[in-house]
């Protein structure tokens, strides 16, 4: 009887094996069908339908992490963040070093404003395991982390990430421009300029790189260097109004700056007088717009004091006098900067030549914001 039992067992094993094989094949086919449908729904912006399809796919192949991940992404797309997180956490417990899972968890944490957690997951993603093109995936994860940090105005951490990223960038002009722009956003203009220059070395006519380099030079007060970049950027794209405005300011600075190198004494004096007149006009128009009287015997307000100080210099504001007395040039420029600063406080940010005067003064150590 035992022998018969074993024989029956063998038959049942064979039968079950056959049935199971068919069963698994059917399950896989059904899962694949629903997965493809889910992907299509996700692509066509119907995350709710995609969720249903992907959940159905998972009924047939419950352990498929690709399906689970896609379901989590569909949930995320449908703004069902708690569900997405639950799925991702369960995936993460299975594969803690999966780059894609960590990246999704990092995104969710960043959206929830949990920066330490987001940093942890993003770093896991950066150093995690990726099935396709791991270098690029890791780089993209770091770029995304930087963007998330910028969105949270955490420029210090973002800059640290960017520095790490910049050290290992491939020869890709667009990528350099992207990183350069991020350095600009982090106010790290030197590194930004280096990225734009690397981009220009690869693609000299790349307008975004030209504009970025111009911006970086401008922020570094290297106006002479900024002008050609901006001019070339405008040459490739005349519609770039930002570049046009920046170029205009740059030109004004270069025209009004009395301490520019290789200026003749006449030209320097002429620029001082011009700046002085501009500052006085700005003070007067500012006072007029506020209904204040500047000519008073006992100046009280900052506007009045600045006007009184500048007015004292008026008799000496001639090119011939300025040429003879270099100290007077300095005193005149101090009065100009003071007048512009006071006007800016009282009447709003300066524009045009007034702005150029302040930037030129800042360039040489004057006119720093109080």
């Amino acid at each position: 009887m035992l022998v018969a039992s074993f024989a029956l067992l063998g038959v049942l094993f064979a039968f079950t094996g056959f049935v199971t094989q068919r069963y698994h094949a059917t399950q896989r086919a059904l899962a694949q069908r629903w997965y493809i449908r889910g992907e299509a729904d996700l692509q066509s912006g119907q995350p709710e339908k995609a969720i249903e399809d992907l959940e159905t796919a998972l009924v047939y192949v419950p352990g498929n992490n690709v399906y689970r991940l896609r379901l989590a992404e569909a949930l995320e797309a449908a703004q069902r963040l708690d569900e997405a997180q639950a799925y991702l956490l369960s995936l993460w417990s299975d594969e803690p070093s999966n780059g894609e899972v960590n990246l999704d968890l990092g995104r969710l944490a960043a959206r929830a404003g949990s920066i330490p957690e987001a940093l942890r997951y993003y770093h896991n993603a950066i150093y995690g395991i990726w099935s396709d093109n791991p270098e690029q995936a890791s780089r993209n994860a770091r770029l995304e982390l930087c963007q998330a940090l910028f969105a949270r105005k955490d420029t210090r951490d973002a800059e640290a990430e960017l520095i790490a990223l910049a050290g290992d960038l491939p020869e890709d002009a667009d990528l350099h421009v992207r990183v350069g722009n991020m350095f600009l956003a982090a106010s790290d203009f030197d590194r930004a300029l280096r990225q734009f220059q690397r981009a220009l070395a690869l693609s000299p006519r790349l307008e975004a790189a030209l504009f970025g380099a111009g911006q970086a030079c401008f922020e570094l007060a290297r106006y002479e260097a900024a002008r050609p970049y901006l001019e070339r950027a405008l040459r490739w794209n005349r519609g770039n109004t930002q570049a046009a405005r920046l170029l205009e300011t740059t030109s004004l600075i270069l025209e009004i700056d009395p301490f520019s190198g290789r200026l003749s004494a006449e030209e320097r004096s002429s620029r001082v007088v011009r700046a002085y007149e501009q500052a006085m006009d700005r003070l007067e128009s500012c006072a007029q717009s506020r209904g204040d009287q500047l000519e008073t015997t006992s100046p009280q307000t900052p506007l009045e004091k600045a006007y009184a100080q500048a007015l004292e210099l008026r008799p000496k504001m001639r090119e011939s006098i300025l040429r003879r007395d270099p100290d007077l040039t300095t005193a005149a420029l101090d009065a100009v900067v003071e007048a512009e600063k006071v006007s800016a406080v009282a009447c709003g940010a300066p524009t045009g030549l007034d702005h150029a005067i302040l930037l030129a003064a800042q360039r040489h150590g004057g006119g720093e914001p109080d």
Binding site: L12, Y23, L30, V59, P62, A86
Partner: protein, 617 residues
């Protein structure tokens, strides 16, 4: 040439000699592969496990296949299918049950118990076939039932069939059904520990070395088969869990209370609805499953999640798929749907629905608690997981299994403390407000009186200390002389019996008449050690009284001694003392005398699994 012939002949001769030796070896004994019954039993346990595993694999595939054919492959079936398929499925199932497989109605657990305690381990193989077909059809068509209980009975049925074929003794045949039940349940849950515990807790009622090994072997074999064919995936994908603050256990305690309320509601509904449907005319049995199917279909139009076993919905609930309001609604309607399906006589199990309801209740409680206490660290999914165990403890009333089941299906040990807290509370509340457990209730509704494992567990055990009395006669010592002893017992009655203690902690006894007789033979100077014959069995105060009864034999009294000092007499015990203690307990409890007066071990047909004697049917 001659040489060649000789070589050839030699070679042939050697081959034949080898063959004869093999045949001789094979025929050394009249039955070359005969095994002792104990060993055969263990081997059989493995075979049963393999058979059960294979059948459960086919059963699960049959359910899935039926579901896809009847309800479609989509997670949410179309309304037309939702409305029609449970009705059609119910009609076909009813005809099959009424015409061909009348034994497949009801709980597989109780039917297995009935096989053990009533039918000498016999489960007709037609029941296995019937369970397989009707349950696959019922569950696949959307009835709110689960595959675990039928799997358990399929396992038990296969075991019974094999046992009968192998002509096992009646004792072993009775034991074989639980072995198969464990295999079937282990395969269905993919959880061998829970299956073994369940069978011990609910079917055989006690740990017994004779059967434990076989149960474990069969459970493991079946799980190996299932994992081999269907993969080793856990039943659910479990969310990450970590108990951060101890005070969060209060939140799980609340879940225990709510889970108990849900369990009680579920039991009460079945308690009320099932007998009423059973009392209806016989012809209605043909339409009851279809009517239940129609109602389930109506519910399914809005809540398709309640249809079928619902494992995928449990999985979704554990991943925060639903808000707590939806979870609460699903729990309530699953109770209704399952009660309808089960009470209408549709074959199928209650395990999966219990897990479903538990997960929903757990998730809902977790959701509400998170709403009011956002600082809770346990996810809603973790509450759903704990909730499954809670309902298991409160509804099925298997506290040990409920804890291990959660551990086993989750593979997460850190969840144990919340599970234990919640399950214990649910179990105790359920026990308090529903004295009769679900399985006992169903058994009584079906007109059988199967032994209640829960009542046995909860039984207050009478011990030796409850019956013993202080010694009334002087104690004698083995180093005393007969004359000395006689002088000390002069005032005792003529028929008095005296205990004699020995230096090595042994005890004996002697009557006054015997002392006097020895003295008359001029043995007054003889030591008692040389006079008394034999030794008495010793008892200890904490031993169960039935052990004392077993040891009592023909002895008029036995010494009760300290466990660490055998010479220290704590009391003496006589047969009258034992009977008096049982009588007092009977009067105090006012319950069925069987349970109190005679423990299971001492019932007329005692066997290894401690069952009551077959009676009634």
């Amino acid at each position: 040439m001659e040489g060649n012939l000789t070589e050839s002949a030699k070679s042939g001769f050697e081959s034949r000699a080898l063959w004869i030796r093999v045949r001789h070896w094979l025929r050394l004994s009249p039955e070359p592969f005969s095994l002792r019954e104990e060993n055969l039993f263990l081997l059989l346990a493995v075979i049963i496990g393999l058979f059960s595993g294979l059948l459960v694999v086919c059963f699960r595939i049959a359910i899935d296949w039926t579901r896809i054919r009847l309800l479609g492959s989509a997670l949410i079936p179309t309304p037309a299918r939702v409305l029609t398929m449970p009705v059609l499925g119910g009609l076909v199932v009813a005809v099959l049950v009424m015409r061909f497989f009348p034994r497949v109605r009801g709980s597989g657990v109780n039917q297995t118990k009935a096989a053990v305690y009533i039918y000498d381990g016999v489960i007709p193989f037609s029941t296995v076939v019937g369970k397989f077909i009707t349950c696959a059809l019922a569950i696949g068509s959307g009835h709110s039932l689960g595959p675990e209980d039928p799997s358990l009975q399929i396992g038990a049925g296969v075991a019974s069939a094999l046992g009968r074929r192998l002509r096992l003794s009646r004792d072993k045949l009775r034991l074989i059904a639980p072995v198969g039940a464990a295999a079937g349940l282990a395969a269905a849950f993919n959880a061998p520990i829970s299956a073994v515990l369940f069978v011990i807790e609910e079917v055989i009622g006690r740990w017994s070395a004779g059967v434990l090994g076989a149960i474990v072997l069969s459970a493991i074999s079946s799980v190996v088969v299932v994992r081999g064919f269907l993969g080793g995936e856990l039943l659910f994908r479990i969310p990450v869990f970590r108990l951060v603050h101890a005070w969060e256990l209060i939140a799980y305690a609340v879940l225990g209370i709510v889970g108990a309320i849900g369990s009680l509601a579920f039991i009460k509904i079945i308690d009320r609805v099932r007998p009423r449907l059973q009392e209806m005319p016989r012809w209605t049995f043909y339409v009851q499953p279809a009517a239940a199917g129609l109602l389930i279909g109506v519910i399914g139009l809005r809540l398709p999640q309640v249809m079928g076993a619902g494992y995928e919905v449990i999985d979704q609930a554990m991943h925060d798929r639903y808000v707590w309001q939806m979870l609460a609604v699903l729990a309530a309607f699953k109770i209704v749907a399952t009660s309808l399906s089960f009470a209408s006589g549709t074959p199928g199990g209650m395990f999966a629905p219990t897990l479903f309801i538990g997960a929903m209740v757990g998730g809902a409680v977790g959701g509400v608690e998170h709403h009011f206490l956002p600082g809770l660290t346990g996810s809603v999914g973790a509450y759903a997981l704990v909730g499954m165990g809670t309902l298991f403890a409160g509804f099925l009333r298997v506290p040990m299994t409920s804890v291990f089941m959660v551990l086993e299906v989750s593979g997460n040990y850190s969840i144990i403390v919340p599970v234990m807290v919640s399950n214990t509370i649910a179990y105790l509340i359920s026990l308090r407000f529903q004295p009769t457990s679900l399985f006992d209730l169903l058994s009584r509704q079906d007109g059988t009186d199967l032994p209640s494992m829960e009542e046995q567990r909860e039984e207050s055990l009478l011990r030796v200390e409850d019956a013993m009395h202080e010694p009334t006669e002087p104690l004698l010592h083995s180093e005393e002389t007969v004359a000395d002893a006689l002088s000390r017992v002069q005032s005792s009655a003529p028929d008095a019996i005296f205990l004699v203690s020995f230096r090595d902690g042994e005890w004996s006894a002697i009557t006054k008449a015997e002392l006097e007789r020895q003295a008359s033979y001029d043995k007054g100077d003889a030591f008692l050690r040389d006079i008394v014959n034999g030794r008495l069995p010793r008892l200890h105060p904490d031993q169960p009284l039935y052990v004392a009864l077993r040891k009592m034999g023909e002895y008029p009294l036995l010494p009760v001694v300290h466990r660490a000092n055998f010479q220290r007499l704590e009391g003496v015990l006589s047969l009258q003392d034992i009977l008096g203690a049982y009588r007092a307990a009977f009067k105090a409890s006012g319950r069925d005398s069987d349970a109190v007066l005679l423990p299971a071990e001492l019932s007329p047909k005692s066997d290894e699994i401690g069952g009551e004697a077959p009676r009634g049917l």
